[in-house]
């Protein structure tokens, strides 16, 4: 195919017809310059930043920055969902989806807190604060021991109870 391209260009030039090439108006950028926006974490831990935190470090951060919506001890309020509890999913199609009964990947907890929380001031937490909050919430749900340190290595290894609870609806579309 590559040998055809110069020929096509030559023909287009010769005939005076505008080339069908793309406009090429995008500006080059390096991954380094995208870093501030590149906040997605993959389930295998790709994208997790340096830093660490424990439940003990997370508790006061939660009380100061999260409890006004999520309630004391993360028990929930009318504004925001409870982050503790694990009602069985067999209890009905409207069962509240919690981290412990539903979420398949611990990395989602880090990704979502870092990108979207606190609701009124997203992306203001340090990476250490996010790791600490993740540790606090996972420990409240007894998904990790109280004193376990969350970091880029330990977080993706947390066993999530509902990991295998999903059916891909339209696998042929992937």
């Amino acid at each position: 195919m590559s040998t055809l391209k110069p020929l096509a260009v030559a023909l287009a030039l010769a005939s005076g017809v505008a080339m069908a090439d793309s406009p090429g108006l995008g500006t080059h950028i390096t991954e380094g310059d995208i870093a501030a926006w590149d906040i997605s974490i993959l389930p295998d831990g790709t994208g997790l930043p340096p830093g660490s935190g424990t439940a003990a470090q997370g508790a006061p951060i939660f009380a100061a920055k999260c409890a006004m919506c999520h309630g004391e001890g993360a028990k929930g309020t009318p504004t925001a969902a409870a982050l503790v509890g694990a009602p069985p999913l067999s209890g009905g199609i409207e069962t509240t989806k919690t981290i412990a009964n539903f979420w398949g990947y611990s990395t989602t907890v880090f990704d979502f807190i870092r990108r979207a929380m606190p609701f009124q001031a997203p992306r203001t937490l340090t990476n250490d604060e996010v790791y600490a909050l993740v540790a606090y919430i996972l420990a409240l749900n007894k998904l990790i021991p109280e004193n376990e340190v969350m970091n880029a290595k330990t977080l993706p290894q947390v066993k999530m109870p509902n990991r295998e609870g999903f059916i891909i609806r339209f696998p042929e579309r992937i």
């Binding site: 793309s22 406009p23 090429g24 108006l25 995008g26 500006t27 080059h28 950028i29 390096t30 991954e31 995208i34 926006w37 590149d38 906040i39 997605s40 974490i41 993959l42 389930p43 295998d44 919506c69 504004t79 925001a80 069985p88 999913l89 067999s90 209890g91 009905g92 199609i93 409207e94 069962t95 989806k97 539903f102 979420w103 398949g104 990947y105 990395t107 989602t108 990704d111 979502f112 990108r115 979207a116 609701f119 009124q120 997203p122 992306r123 609870g165 999903f166 059916i167 891909i168 609806r169 339209f170 696998p171 579309r173 992937i174």
Partner: protein, 429 residues
């Protein structure tokens, strides 16, 4: 007076009467109702006909008599939670939703984006990461297409074990249809190049939660678009100004608004909205993940809950049908709760993944009826009957708050009962 053959019980008439006879039928039908009606008053000039009208505004807004035609809001005071606004289907006609009435769901308010400063970056598993601006994208070859966008949680009140008495807007208002204009995503991916290892891409918005979804690259290279215009004008702020991802036929939340970043990746990110919110629990406790598709669906908008029929005689039954799989092939309408069906006329053009307006002439004899519609798409998918749908997908234990999303992706039938007084109620049939 000409008679038209009934096609199903309780006064449903042959749709071909409209298609073949056009104005002749309309005249005949009008004649029928007028002969039954009292004589009209003598005509006189109204005050507004005898004076100069108001000044011409730069941007038109609807007549002051159309004040009730508004979206309904879930969070009018912008409290710290998401906000839904629902389209008033029972007060609209045709297939295009006015941009001002297009449904919106925003998860952190509506950002006030300066288009001169907005950027879209495409990176990850590409040959060359590139940044685009509104200005540069506006120079690219564009395409326009009519496409519906539907929230994965639209029609969630239909999971209630008892029919919730609410309008088509309250039940189905999280779907709308626009003409979208923009640049094909495949054009931009041609310029960045695609690493063969890429199987998915993350789309992320410039709103406060940096809303992100993982989307199969297959869809991105198929009919995905970076949309800049909605019904000919720039996108409405609540619909993603200045640019949004458009994935025709796919769950609304995946059509990421305020689009600022696309990252090609080899595995889905399992973001909050795909791994939690739009994964739905099934009876027994398993859950569907990666539903993507908004499946074939229809509902009658005229008449529907909140309308009152003014006595027996002619009415047109109409509604919208759509499918994320392609074109609508057929819509059947019943006036006896599904015992007998007649085929509705499909208003041209019938476009893939867009609203199709269906119409059915109807002469109501004044007795109670139950109206339903059922749609098929060109891939022969059919709207499931409610009994079979809830057998597979379940119901809530108690009627939910109509603003809540107890489950997702309802595409079964909607039934409206007209009583002998002409009042329309929501029923299951």
């Amino acid at each position: 007076m000409k008679r038209f053959a009934p096609v199903a019980a309780n006064g449903l008439l042959d749709r071909r009467a409209f298609l073949r006879e056009g104005t002749a039928l309309a005249a005949a039908v009008t004649g029928y109702t007028l002969t039954k009606a009292a004589s009209a008053e003598p005509l006189a000039d109204a005050p507004w006909s005898r004076e100069m009208g108001s000044a011409t505004p730069p941007v038109q807004t609807p007549s002051r008599f159309e004040k009730p035609v508004v979206r309904t809001l879930s969070n009018p005071n912008n409290e710290l939670r998401n906000s839904h606004a629902r389209t008033p289907h029972q007060m609209l006609q045709g297939t295009v939703t006015p941009a001002s009435l297009h449904f919106t769901i925003n998860h952190g308010g509506i950002p006030d984006i300066d288009p001169a400063q907005h950027k879209l970056v495409i990176h990850g598993l590409v040959r060359q990461p590139l940044v685009f601006t509104v200005e540069t994208l506006s120079r690219y070859p564009m395409v326009s297409r009519m496409t519906f966008v539907e929230c994965g949680g639209n029609s969630a009140p239909m999971f209630s074990p008892e029919p919730i008495q609410a309008t088509a807007q309250a039940l189905h208002g999280l779907v709308s249809c626009s003409e979208w204009t923009g640049v094909r995503l495949s054009t931009l991916l041609d310029e960045t190049g695609v690493d063969p290892k890429a199987k998915w891409f993350i789309a992320e918005g410039a709103d406060s939660p940096a809303l992100s979804r993982s989307i199969p690259l297959k869809k991105g290279l198929d009919d995905a678009m970076v949309a800049l215009y909605q019904n000919g004008e720039r996108l409405m702020p609540g619909n993603g100004y200045p640019m949004r991802l458009l994935l025709p036929g796919y769950e609304g939340n995946m059509n990421v608004k305020f689009l600022r970043r696309i990252k090609l990746i080899d595995q889905p990110a399992m973001s909050y909205y795909e791994s939690r919110t739009y994964s739905q629990i099934l009876p027994g406790g398993k859950a569907y993940r990666f539903y993507f598709l908004q499946e074939v669906k229809s509902f009658i908008t005229h008449p529907s809950f909140g309308h009152a029929l003014k006595g027996p005689g002619f009415y047109e039954i109409s509604g919208v049908a759509y499918s994320g799989n392609g074109r609508i092939a057929k819509v059947l309408v019943s006036a006896d709760g599904g015992k007998s069906w007649g085929e509705a006329a499909l208003q041209e053009p019938v476009l893939p993944k867009a609203f199709t307006r269906f119409r059915m002439p109807w002469r109501w004899d004044g007795r109670p009826v139950i109206l339903q519609s059922r749609a098929w798409d060109e891939a022969d998918n059919v709207q499931p009957l409610r009994a079979e749908f809830v057998a597979r997908r379940g119901e809530t234990k108690k009627p939910p708050n109509p603003l809540a999303f107890p489950n997702q992706h309802y595409n079964s039938l909607t039934s409206w009962a007209v009583d002998s007084k002409g009042e329309v109620k929501h029923v299951y049939a």
